[in-house]
Structure formats: structure tokens, C-alpha cells
Assembly symmetry: C2
Homo-oligomer: 412 residues x 2
């Protein structure tokens, strides 16, 4: 374990992925450890959007749907995401938001298990996933209900009424990683399907949906994929389910022949039926641009670096902040951890604000969690060192006690 | 009626709205008559996006949700659309696509009339509206069904089983305008609610939802509002329905306190509960930029110019193309017409392609419709003249018979 900043700089010098960072437009003097909430833009994204608005939209106007390939853009972007999550190109669709895609696939899963009304999830799941399931259950009355249990009770709750197990792969608070392979197998043994939310996985944690035998998945374009705030989301459906895939959100872009303008909905083949309304082209272009980064990167190498970054952070915190009442809220075993580390501290909110004021950007989750995301594509080992250095200074000077750091912003 | 191009140029010289055109980035040498499908960008939109990606997203990173006001952007954009459709600021939400918003409001309407399973619409409605209703009906089983009738049978079909009358205000093929006031009244007398799709109205045809006593509406950001391909869409709910408004697409951004991260969904107040997933900020910024145009424009003035443009077009076609088998497929009475004119011709497809090759961009809808949209914000009277001039040349030289004009593009 390095004991000086100079030693840490050597880790960066030896980093096989170090070259990726220069492709990002990151501000000077900032240590950005919140890419698990919002990835930064690539340097090329502004220019791609400039061209999309100027030459494409402005120059070609309506013709751009054909001449600039807009109509195929959702499928092209989906094909770029597929290898990051262990899916075939035709098993991924890009459309709408994670929430909306989750609704489509939950409805599909419940319809495929008509005698089983239960959507099983856990208390720690990301709230919007639970909310969407509640919305579907309320709409369907007796035909669906959400059951939320504690994490340790998930397996024993996989009873005969469970249609689908809906989980987020990496816990947004603790960064704890579910064992996708084992939980998928347990679900199938119980006769249930699985729906994985990959919001905090895709782009940082290797995922192999097909190797796990997963059924459905959704995920987010704006965290480790760097597609921009509110970027379009993705949805995965295993090929074996394509024929029976039915979603209630049957918009014209998921029609077999949208430009036949027929009055009767007929689903497009496979995952393409998951498209609903007209795709948000400008947002898709930003996401497409961001995904170019991954076309040259090995996901296993990203994972190796991610583990090295989180291991270094935890070791430095343990060494330098032992006197300051922090508790590691993420698994100590890197195999059970995503690409973030969470620390618990009773003054967590103010400590995070003090760090942000110093240019070290993490975030806070109630009641007491300081979250630090280590996106391997652009985070340097020296960023980890500097983050801990700043945290040590915040704690040793009691900087977090300053009253102005108590003001809650609207978005935390 | 002018008989020379010079006389038409005088109409432009006298046009009170002529100054608006220079705010658009329109290519030289193009007569753009397809703004009813996709509006062009404002000249300022590329720069707004540049700033959004560079200074806001790239500079502020996650902080931009607070420091750049991203979290309030959907509500700010909604408040800009509200006056264009006769709504209060708190009666409009901007989110998702027109299709998804329609699903939310259809589900809400059906839930408000539990003893009435019928969603009533017409054969000519835009297909995605029918498809979304079919998707909801299939999901709800006995509790909802779509009934589609011919336009002339709508009123007599408003029986005791109808929960909601779902219509598009301006017919996408013919440009025919429904009488919103009378049909809303007839629906209410029959105990039904109304859901208006304003895709081909907002920004070109005056709409006064509150004066009509309308219940629900949806609409599109990328046609006459010029928000960019696949721009976020809007949804309207009359204030009297806010308290009872329940949609099944209950995402975290429609939660009363999204950043409390509670496990139980509680709706935000009023229309804000129509938000679902994380809003697509880049697309919203393009739409926000485009809507700035309308902050200085009187909708009545836009309508006057729109009528003058379509009247001129029809008159010139009648005068110059009488020998060429065109049939006016739009109402002759401007009070019953939106901002487009459709002509029917058996060779419509090839004629439209010949016009596009000449830089006069309209579009084609099967089986035989040539559609021409006259967006009053940027279309000049001389564009109308030039369009008819080109159409006359295409017909008199039989240019449309060239075999290369028979190739169907993917998007028409």
C-alpha cells in the first residue's frame, strides 16, 4: 500500500487505462467521485451535438431521419451497450427512462406468469423501481402485488406466488453487489423470472446477463455510461422470451411497420417492440458519443482498476481516519462491491458539503452515508489520495462544523 | 389574390411576424413545408446546447441539478407551453413522449370512470394514440376497451359506457380541425371525459383548453414548437382533476419528495406527479430554447398568418394546377383547418419526391396524400409561391415519372 502521494502517482503512471481520462471534459481542480450519479461529458460530446443540431437537424431537417440514420440510432446505441452487459445486439433496446423501461418489463414478466401475482424485491432497492412496481400493482388489482423483504430474506421468499424477482445489481447506498448468477438460478428453480436493474453496474462492473441466464434487465445511460443528464435508458430481454414479449406501452416506434400508419398495433420483432414514442435524438446522440469510449476498452480491465481504486480508498481511510468515527458501509470484500465506497458518519451531510467546497465531489444519502464513486474510466489513483487527504483535513480541522454547510440543496 | 411573385414579396414585406424567421437556422435554397413533422432549430439552440454540455454539465457536473436549475427545468418548460394551449402554469407537465403521456392520462381517465370501460376514438386518429389505448386495454382486460368509429359517428357513439373521448385536435392526414368546444361539451353531457392530442396544434393553432372545459391533453415538442427530433412532450390536466389524478407510471421524479428516497410512492402535488424517470435535460434545454420564440409572439397573430398562408396556397393550386388531377384533401373553410394543406393525387408519392429533389420539402401519407405544413413562425408567403411554382413545373414536365423517385425511404 503506498504511503506517499509520489507513490500513488506511480500507480497512475503504470495504469493501462490512464489514457482514457483525457477523452473527458473534466474541470481543473476537481476530484469527481460522483460518476455513479452523473458521469461527466466526453470532450467530443459537445461537438457531436453541435453537428447534430447544425448539419443534421438544421441542414437535413425532416430528411435526417433517413439521411443521418436517426431512425436506426436507438438500435445502434443498443448494440454498443450489449457487449457491456453480456447480451446479444438484438437483446437490447434503448428508449425512454429506466423507470419506464422497468414498467414495460415488469408488466411483461407478470403476464408471463399469470398464476403468480407477486413482484418480489427488497427494501434497499432504488425507490423508483419500487414505485413503478407499486404503480403497476395498483393498476392490475388482484393480478399483481409488490412484496418487499429484507435482503437476507430474499431467497426464502421465492415462493410459488412469485412471478418475478426485481433487484438492483449494485445497491445504490452501500455499493453491495448481488450474486446475479446464484439469485437468477434460485429464481428459476422457484419458477420465477428475474429483472435486474443495472443502473450502478453498466460501464463499471462486468455483467454477463446471458451467462447468468437472466430474463430481463434495465439500466441507465447517465451514470457510468456518461450519456448526459437524463440520458435514454436501456432494456434487455433474453432471446428466448422475445416471441412472447408483451408490453402495455405499445407506441408507434415499436410497431412492425410504423410508417404504414395502420390503426392496429402489431409488435416489431424482438426487442424493437420496446420502443414507444419518437426517440429523443439529441439525447441519443450524446449517449452514442459517450459509448464510443467503451468500444476500445476491455470491461475486465475497467473492473481491475475499479477494484484497485476502491481498495486504495478503503485502505487510506482506515489508515488516516481511524480516529474519526467513520464506519465502512460497503462490503470489505471487493468481490461483493460495485465501483463505489460508502462511509457512514453521523455528520455525513456536512462532511460531504465541506468536501464539495474543497472540490472533492461525492454525495450524501440519508441518514448518514457519504458515497464516493470511483469510475475507472477517468478516476486517477491520485484522485483517491487527494480525496482522503481532503477528508482528513476536513475532519482534523472540524471544518464540517461551519454552519453554512448545513443548508440542504434541493437535489442531494 | 396576388398574381405575380413580386406581389407575394409585398405580403412578406407587410408581415408583422416576418422578423421571426431570422431566428431560425434554415438552410439556403430550401422551402421547408414539413414543420408539422419536425420543426427546424432556432439559430440559438446549438449554442444553448453547447453551454449546457460545456459549462453546465462539464463544469458543474452533478451540482448542475441545483446550480443550473436542472431540477426545475421540466416545470419551467411546462410554464412556457401553458399559455399556448390555454392552460394554467400548474396544469401542464413536460416529460417523456407523447405516447407515454397519453398512456398516463388514459389510465387516469379510465380510473375516474370505473363503470365505463370504453375509450372512444376515431379511425383517423394518429396511430400511436390508438396503439397506446390498445396496450392499456389489453392490460386492463374487462376494465377497458378501445372503440374506434368513423368521424361522423363520434357524437352518437358517446354512450353510457364511454369513459373518455380521445381525439387528435388537428387530423394528421387532412389537417381538419375538430371543434374542441362542442365535442368536449357533448362528452361531458354524456358523462365522459376528454383527452385531446395537440401534436399538430400547439404553436400554430390557438387552443384554449380551459375555456373549452377540457379534461386532459397531451402534445408534442418537436413539430410547431421546434424542440428538436423526439423532444420531450407535454401533458395537461385540468386543475379540478388534480386531486384525483392517478397514473400507473409512478416514477421517482413524480414523488412528493424524490430525495427522501422512501420506499413508498406518494404523488407530488398536481401535474408534477406526471413526471416519471429522470428528465432528459439536454433535450429539455433544446425545447426550452425553442420556446423562447413564443414568449414574444401572440398566438392569434400566428393563426392569422397561418390562415393567410394556407389560403394563398390553396388559391394558387386551384389557379395553376387545375389540369393536374389534384383534389383538396383539407377543408376549404379555414376555420375547420389546422396549419397544413393536404392534396390528394394518385402519383402523390413520386410528386413529393420530385419536389424534395427541388428543395421543396413536404411529405407523403399513403395512399395518395401530399402534405404541406405552413408553420407561421418561419414560412414566408414567397415560399408558398415558390412551392406552387415548383409543383407546377413538376407536373407540366412530368418530372415525377423519373424512376429514381419511386424508391421508398424508411421514414416517410
Amino acid at each position: 500500500m503506498p504511503t506517499t502521494r509520489a507513490e500513488v502517482l506511480e500507480l497512475d503512471a503504470d495504469d493501462e487505462l490512464a489514457g482514457l481520462r483525457e477523452r473527458f471534459a473534466l474541470p481543473e481542480g476537481v476530484v469527481y467521485l460522483d460518476g455513479n450519479s452523473l458521469g461527466p461529458p466526453l470532450a467530443s460530446t459537445a461537438e457531436s451535438l453541435q453537428r447534430a443540431v447544425g448539419a443534421d437537424w438544421g441542414g437535413e431537417l425532416i430528411r435526417a431521419w433517413n439521411t443521418c440514420g436517426w431512425i436506426d440510432l436507438p438500435a445502434r446505441v443498443a448494440a454498443r451497450i450489449a457487449p457491456l452487459i453480456g447480451a446479444g445486439d438484438d437483446e437490447v433496446a434503448v428508449a425512454d427512462s429506466t423507470s419506464i423501461n422497468l414498467f414495460k418489463l415488469l408488466a411483461a414478466a407478470v403476464a408471463m406468469r399469470p398464476d403468480r401475482p407477486v413482484i418480489l424485491s427488497e427494501e434497499e432497492n432504488f425507490p423508483t423501481d419500487l414505485y413503478m412496481a407499486q404503480g403497476l400493482a395498483e393498476l392490475l388489482g388482484d393480478r399483481a402485488r409488490l412484496e418487499v423483504v429484507a435482503r437476507e430474506r430474499l431467497r426464502e421468499s421465492l415462493g410459488r406466488e412469485v412471478a418475478v424477482l426485481m433487484l438492483t445489481h449494485v445497491d445504490f447506498r452501500s455499493g453491495e453487489l448481488h450474486d446475479m448468477q446464484q439469485l437468477t438460478r434460485a429464481s428459476h428453480e422457484a419458477g420465477a423470472l428475474t429483472l435486474w436493474d443495472l443502473a450502478h453496474s453498466a460501464g463499471a462492473v462486468p455483467v454477463d446477463l446471458n451467462a447468468c441466464g437472466a430474463d430481463f434487465a434495465v439500466g441507465c445511460g447517465y451514470k457510468y455510461l456518461n450519456g448526459g443528464p437524463g440520458a435514454p435508458a436501456f432494456a434487455y430481454v433474453a432471446r428466448r422470451h422475445h416471441e412472447r414479449l408483451r408490453t402495455p406501452l405499445t407506441g408507434w416506434m415499436g410497431h412492425r411497420e410504423p410508417f404504414a400508419f395502420s390503426t392496429r398495433y402489431e409488435p416489431a420483432s424482438g426487442c424493437a417492440r420496446l420502443l414507444a414514442g419518437t426517440p429523443p435524438i439529441l439525447s441519443l446522440i450524446a449517449l452514442d458519443d459517450a459509448l464510443d469510449l467503451f468500444s476500445t476498452v476491455d470491461v475486465a480491465a475497467l473492473r481491475r482498476k475499479s477494484v484497485a481504486l476502491t481498495e486504495l480508498f478503503i485502505a487510506l481511510v482506515e489508515r488516516r481516519l481511524a480516529d474519526h468515527r467513520f464506519r465502512l458501509a460497503s462490503p470489505r470484500d471487493p468481490d461483493r462491491r460495485g465501483s463505489q465506497v460508502s462511509l457512514a458518519h453521523p455528520e455525513g451531510f456536512a462532511i460531504v458539503q465541506a468536501l464539495i467546497a474543497r472540490g472533492v465531489i461525492g454525495d450524501f444519502r440519508a441518514p448518514d452515508l457519504l458515497r464516493f464513486g470511483f469510475a475507472p474510466a477517468y478516476t486517477r489513483f491520485v484522485d483517491v489520495w487527494d480525496a482522503v487527504e481532503n477528508l482528513e483535513q476536513v475532519m482534523s480541522t472540524a471544518e464540517w462544523e461551519r454552519p453554512e454547510l448545513r443548508v440542504r440543496p434541493r437535489v442531494t
